[in-house]
Symmetry: C2
Subunit: 227 residues, 2 copies
């Protein structure tokens, strides 16, 4: 069976925007594992045969399915242990977990509040109703209200990333001389914004933006995007 | 020459409160290295013979002095490589750097704004003028104004620690099954508050508070404090 990755797509099915799917996409690139990509809408996820995961990414390999980007990376490390590690073991793995949590609890909601209406606007009409209802319930406000004032709020967002910025002033990657899962996790969040929105999250000379460019080249991300 | 650690003290010279000195104190405990402690005031640091460091901790060992808690931990790892590692190497070291930056840029200023007047009040009168002038200049407000409203603001502080909390719900220590420098760094910040103030930073059932208690027992911190 071919290795298949189910990924969220927009109205333009070549646009893969999910931060979590990007984590798995780059995890597979990190392990140098080819895969076939299968675009799905939010509203199509329940219909994916062979998996009961409510979320993507879902990776099919060797007649089994795996979901959750962290769990998939762990699986890839175990299965392809002879290839460059993603999460690794011991203290490195535990500290990567902290970075993943930092990303999930600070960056992901921070970015969401800057581009959430742009995300909505690039979705397939079949997904727009689901997205608006679920996100407006989560935030307690309309998508328009959440995104309002972002030109002023982005300054606070940039300031909130000081720990990440300082680290990337001191070393090439979050994981050191070479990237690993901690980098891939954070990259997915910024790549999500890049795929959904033209809003400028970071100043061009921000050490985080320079690291993002290094990651884009390192994993040849441009070649993976059809748009 | 005896191993000596120069540490900030309060008006009560047995109270060692500096978050950075606690990092070195626990780094030495982690390596199981005995040391003689030398209390100093802020205003006495320039007079320490054999070092031109403007800050403590300063560690004297083998006729050399080292300052900066991260640099001291690196030195201890190199010199006592056969003992349990603090920062380690490779990805683990680079990710520990991120946690250290997170601590320095989020926790340290967050805690400072909740207890800064309490810190002032426990200092030796010789240090109080220096402390007030330098901190009021840094924050652009009086110590009283900085600390005002902390009963309300502490909720926001606790919320800001969500990445740390989630990590400690998933694993025993920030560094995994056993503590290492990332834990020690963060511990120093909370121990600083504990030494200077009776203000309750965390709810007692917060996973961060439970981890703090584990660390206190692991390094037998009570036995190191005379108060």
């Amino acid at each position: 069976m071919t290795r298949q990755l189910y990924e969220l797509c927009g109205a333009d099915k070549t646009v893969r925007f999910s931060p979590y799917c990007w984590r798995t996409r780059l995890s597979l690139a990190h392990k140098d594992l080819p895969f076939e990509t299968v675009p799905v809408l939010f509203t199509e996820i329940p219909d994916i045969a062979g998996s009961d995961s409510p979320t993507v990414p879902i990776l099919f390999e060797a007649d089994m399915s795996r979901s959750d980007s962290w769990a998939i990376a762990t699986y890839l490390d175990e299965t392809y242990a002879d290839r460059s590690s993603l999460i690794g073991e011991g203290a490195a793995a535990s500290l990567a977990r902290f970075v993943d949590n930092y990303n999930n609890t600070l960056l992901v909601p921070g970015v969401a509040q800057l581009i959430i209406l742009d995300i909505h606007d690039m979705l397939d009409p079949a997904d727009q109703t689901y997205f608006r209802e679920s996100r407006e319930k989560r935030f307690g406000r309309s998508l328009e209200d959440i995104q309002a004032g972002r030109d002023e709020r982005v300054t606070q967002f940039r300031s909130s990333l000081v720990a990440l910025r300082r680290t990337l002033e001191q070393q090439m990657y979050i994981s050191g001389d070479d990237p690993a899962y901690a980098d891939i996790s954070v990259y997915g969040t910024l790549q999500w914004a890049r795929c959904c929105s033209s809003f400028q999250l970071l100043e061009t000379d921000d050490p985080i933006a320079l690291w993002f460019d290094r990651m884009t080249r390192r994993y040849d991300v441009q070649a993976q995007t059809a748009w």
